[in-house]
């Protein structure tokens, strides 16, 4: 018989074991790996796999997109959703496997590429590629579109109740105005809030300059006194109910609210705003690359892309889809488009932004 452990020994041994395992896990998770030269992936030959796992934003696809694909290609689709890029990144960085398609925003693509987590896309299979509008190709996060296929784009602006607010708020400065105190909201998201105050002062919404950020912070703290709350998605219901009259909001969410309350309107502030492009990508750990490519080519069809844009309320990067849409997305005019800026990853600047955001919350 072996001698039993005393309590002290047991705790000691347990802790040592725990620590060494922890240390091992910590070391394997260290830092971004160097990006390898992308090898060409050939998926054109052979039959499709019979399964496909998609991990996408919630409320971000057409009503029948998935079932239409399943019926036509005989592939069973497992569809899972997330609420933020951070959810997606944390999962993939922690080593989650089994997703064949994901839908990261531009700045999240930067991170995924830094960690070498994306597989290159075989463009030769994507016969519908030509439908994409050149405007949305070759963005900075993937200059040659080796890894990403544009899915939907959106922008933040000011959603307001046209029946309760006059004149229409066309500047971020409306949040500094006490007229609608307690009836206004901004999203609980540092990129949106600090970004809009940088734009208000005429700076880049991706700025990491301490002086510019200090000005944005001062404006944000002043505006906070007039805000009802920092709230993201649930504000749609409150706009419809009339609890909130003015909200910084995404164009697609505004479009969704508008279907229930026609008085919900949208302005792109004259100082400009931030926009983003979400793209489909294939993780390196994908098990069904052929089915993933088939799906990508499927969503590049104009009628499929139109269905996705109609349902979500966000803009389609598919030039062929625009004339087919039944609901006109809140599309900016060319002049407004010129004042939009793409959200980029802040990299080293993230720490400073987080500090400013914490100060805004505490202030």
């Amino acid at each position: 018989m072996t001698k039993g452990w005393t309590r002290r020994e047991f705790i000691g041994q347990g802790l040592t074991a725990g620590m060494s395992l922890g240390m091992g896990a910590a070391l394997t998770a260290c830092g971004p790996r160097r990006t390898r030269e992308p090898e060409e992936q050939m998926v054109g030959v052979g039959a499709l796999e019979d399964e496909l796992t998609i991990y996408n934003w919630s409320d971000y696809i057409g009503a029948t997109t998935v079932s239409d694909f399943e019926n036509e290609f005989g592939v069973r689709v497992i569809y899972d959703t997330y609420e933020s890029n951070e959810d997606l990144l944390a999962k993939l960085q922690a080593g989650a496997r089994g997703y064949d398609l994901i839908c990261p925003t531009g700045y999240a693509v930067d991170v995924l590429r830094a960690f070498d987590l994306l597989a290159p896309i075989d463009r030769s299979v994507l016969t519908n590629w030509g439908n994409l509008s050149p405007e949305f190709l070759g963005r900075s996060f993937d200059p040659e579109n080796r890894y990403t296929v544009p899915w939907l784009w959106g922008l933040t602006g000011i959603a307001y109740r046209a029946d309760l607010v006059d004149p229409a708020p066309d500047s971020w400065g409306v949040f500094l105005d006490e007229t609608y105190r307690g009836k206004m909201t901004q999203p609980d998201d540092m990129r949106d809030v600090i970004g809009c105050w940088l734009k208000y002062r005429g700076y880049s919404g991706n700025s990491t300059d301490p002086g510019q950020l200090a000005q944005a912070k001062a404006d944000a703290i002043r505006a906070k006194q007039n805000l009802k709350s920092f709230v993201s998605a649930p504000v749609k219901d409150q706009l419809i109910a009339g609890d909130v009259w003015i909200a910084q909001l995404w164009n697609g969410d505004t479009a969704q609210a508008r279907t229930e309350e026609p008085d919900v309107s949208f302005e792109i502030p004259r100082e400009g705003s931030m926009m983003y492009l979400d793209s489909m990508a294939i993780p390196r750990s994908a098990r069904h690359p052929k089915a993933a490519h088939a799906f990508l080519n499927f969503i590049l069809r104009p009628e499929v892309a139109a269905g996705i844009s109609d349902r979500s309320g966000y803009g389609s990067p598919n030039a062929g889809a625009i004339p087919l849409q039944t609901r006109v997305a809140l599309t900016p005019t060319p002049e407004e488009f010129a004042r939009l800026e793409y959200q980029e990853d802040l990299a080293e600047g993230t720490a400073l932004w987080d500090r400013i955001w914490t100060e805004i919350k505490v202030g």
Binding site: G4, G14, L15, A17, G18, M19, S20, L21, G22, M23, A25, A26, L27, A29, C30, G31, P32, S84, E86, L89, A90, Q93, V111, A114, F115, G182, T185, D188, D189, M190, R191, K224, L227, K228, S229, F230, V231, P234, Q238, A241, G242, D243, A347, E348, T350, A351, W353, D354, R355, W357, T358, E359, K361, V362
Partner: protein
């Protein structure tokens, strides 16, 4: 013969404390001790730009807590958790006392206390939004019967956060106090009455001290989770204030500073540990003197 021996041996192994503790111990090791070990290690490593950590050793994440900005957040959180505990105690004690003295209704009353757990916490919090908002049930009802003309702003105020916290944690206060009062023999109270103690004196000198352990346990069960909660302040407080739970959550999300988030968690654990030790020490003293007094 052999079977009987085998069975006896099996019974002996099974009834050994180590065997009984093994399944839960393994569970704790795998899902508590090891993750905690990972967090300890992370909290001393430099942050990776894209999340995760870089190799190396640093104390910066702990030193950062000396910054008034983070001390303010910590202090606010402690004050709110303490306030929540106090309100739960004031509301919960009479309820626990009433249930412990109830006869026919005891089981139904206890069932009512635990009933909120039948619904998801998140769903209940969203339901509270619908109750408290400007065009919510409370305001529309009050306006219809003419008590008020303008809606009372309740949602997105510290008041709403407190309501949410108290509602969530009240059962954790009631149940341990009820358990300690339940065991209080009527004979002691009768003896006190016979010896001339007035109701107020009976409560102050006998009931309250003897329910001390329940009060201590209930207060801990409320204070500790209230300290780490972040959903009520986000959803009911409108995210205009930052509590320590929100700070930690941000570090693993948009801020991408896992080591600082880990360090912040350990600072909270340290605060809880010190608080618990101080509280238990004072609590134990109280209970012992109470017992001596009663004796």
């Amino acid at each position: 013969m052999k079977d009987v021996r085998k069975q006896r041996l099996l019974a002996r192994i099974v009834s050994k404390p180590t065997t009984l503790l093994a399944p839960a111990g393994f569970w704790l090791l795998l899902f508590f001790i090891i993750p905690l070990g990972v967090m300890v290690v992370y909290s001393f490593m430099p942050r990776g730009i894209y999340g995760g950590v870089e190799p190396g050793f640093t104390l910066e994440h702990y030193l950062r807590f000396l910054d008034p900005l983070y001390l303010t957040i910590l202090l606010r959180t402690v004050l709110m958790a303490a306030g929540c505990t106090a309100v739960c105690l004031l509301l919960g004690y009479p309820v626990a006392f009433a249930i412990s003295r109830a006869r026919r209704w005891k089981h139904i009353l206890l069932l009512l206390v635990i009933m909120p757990f039948w619904t998801s916490f998140l769903v209940r919090t969203f339901a509270m939004i619908f109750l408290m908002r400007d065009t919510g049930l409370i305001n529309t009802t009050l306006m219809r019967i003419g008590v008020i003309t303008e809606p009372i702003v309740m949602l997105y105020t510290p008041f709403a956060v407190m309501v949410g916290l108290v509602y969530t944690f009240l059962p954790f206060m009631i149940l341990p106090i009820y358990a300690s009062l339940e065991r209080l023999p009527n004979s002691i109270l009768e003896a006190a009455e016979v010896l001339g103690a007035k109701p107020a004196a009976r409560f102050r000198r006998i009931i309250l001290p003897l329910s001390g352990p329940g009060v201590v346990a209930g207060s801990l069960l409320v204070f500790v989770p209230a300290l780490g909660s972040f959903i009520p302040s986000d959803l009911l407080g409108g995210a205009k204030q930052m509590l320590i739970g929100n700070l930690v959550q941000n570090q693993f999300g948009a801020a991408r500073n896992w080591p600082f988030g880990s360090a912040a968690s350990f600072v909270v654990m340290g605060v809880v540990l010190i608080g618990v030790l101080v509280y238990l020490r004072s609590g134990r003293g109280e209970v012992t003197t109470a017992l001596q007094d009663a004796g």
